[in-house]
């Protein structure tokens, strides 16, 4: 699964996710990627989000939308809300990670797997990472 989230100069947020699913899945299996709120979500009032990992658990948690609700309704800072939903993912036995941005440009790329292919571009600079300890 691949994904991107962005905050533009007008202050708008957007998210996009695309995937081939899981190796050896049943034909017709649909994971979190096309399920709005589970694999992809964007709302200028809260966050832009894209997830990757064990899609079935992301869907059961509606993880992206839950993250947005914690930010908007519970007033949680994005890093704190991200840690909470990642704990909830693990508590259901799910593995994976996500990228998320809020409307002020706060950025998170958490994962509970050994690694995640990820990158950030801001202020004319770019950085990529693969392993969890980077």
């Amino acid at each position: 699964t691949v994904g991107a989230v962005a905050l533009d100069s007008a202050g708008h947020l957007a998210a996009a996710t695309s995937t081939g699913g899981r190796a050896n899945q049943w034909p017709g299996r649909v994971g979190d990627t096309p399920v709005l709120g589970a694999g992809t979500y964007a709302d200028d009032r809260t966050i832009a989000y894209s997830g990757t990992g064990h899609g079935e658990t992301f869907m059961r948690l509606v993880l992206g939308h839950r993250l947005a609700c914690l930010v908007e309704l519970a007033g949680m800072p994005l890093p704190q809300a991200s840690a909470q939903v990642l704990d909830e993912l693990a508590a259901l036995g799910g593995t994976g990670g996500f990228i998320a941005l809020d409307a002020r440009g706060e950025a998170v790329m958490p994962h509970n797997t050994p690694g995640m292919y990820r990158g950030i571009a801001r202020g004319g600079r770019r950085a990529v990472a693969i392993f969890g300890d980077e």
Binding site: T1, V2, G3, A4, V5, A6, D8, S9, H12, A14, A15, A16, T17, S18, T19, G20, G21, R22, A23, N24, W26, P27, G28, V30, G31, T33, P34, L36, G39, T40, Y41, A42, D44, R45, A48, S50, T52, H54, G96, G97, F98, A100, G105, H111, T113, P114, G115, M116, Y117, R118, G119, I120, A121, R122, G124, R126, V128, I130, F131, G132
Partner: protein, 172 residues
């Protein structure tokens, strides 16, 4: 806050020493290329929606990621794509699922959002819609890579109890 772009190319058992330096370098280069594509849009004052599509397009075309070309295989050795996009300004959204021959699933998802009255189209209907608006359709073999075929065989052998499949094999 300056315009900002984040990308991911998948999460899983990605550990040091598990892949060759060449493969790791190719991954970093592909991630940087995806970032650069989206960053160019933002730096030119373009919308976040165009930026995320530009980055995902680079990764769909790369055989290194489980999306578009180089996607994981189903238990029947076929490939099915899912994709979605959401625009935070008006909470517009588009998604496709279980497509087999649309070259770019993310462009199809965007077209569903912008050129159909729906939010999600699936399977043959999504393919017919994509064809009707002129999105590129390719033969299914175009998405296949030897690495994913081998990964499927390892996963299926493991299911038969014949040998171990890695986490990487399972998740693509």
């Amino acid at each position: 806050m300056p315009p900002t772009l984040l990308i991911h190319g998948g999460a899983g058992a990605i550990e040091r020493g598990k892949s060759t330096p060449e493969h790791e370098a190719a991954l970093r280069s592909a991630l940087d290329e995806a970032l650069a594509a989206g960053q160019a849009v933002l730096d030119a004052g373009g919308p976040a929606l165009d930026a995320v599509i530009a980055s995902v397009r680079v990764m769909e075309e790369s055989p290194l990621f489980n999306a578009g070309r180089g996607a994981a295989l189903t238990c029947e050795g076929t490939i099915e794509h899912d994709a979605s996009v959401m625009d935070g300004a008006e909470r517009r959204a588009g998604a496709v699922s279980a497509t087999k021959r649309i070259r770019s699933p993310i462009l199809a998802a965007r077209a569903v959002m912008e050129r159909s009255p729906h939010v999600h189209l699936t399977a043959d209907g999504a393919e017919a819609f994509a064809r009707s608006i002129g999105l590129e359709i390719v033969p299914e073999w175009w998405f296949f890579t030897p690495e994913r075929q081998a990964a499927l065989e390892r996963v299926q052998a493991a299911e038969r109890g014949e040998s171990g499949a890695s986490e990487r094999d399972r998740h693509g």
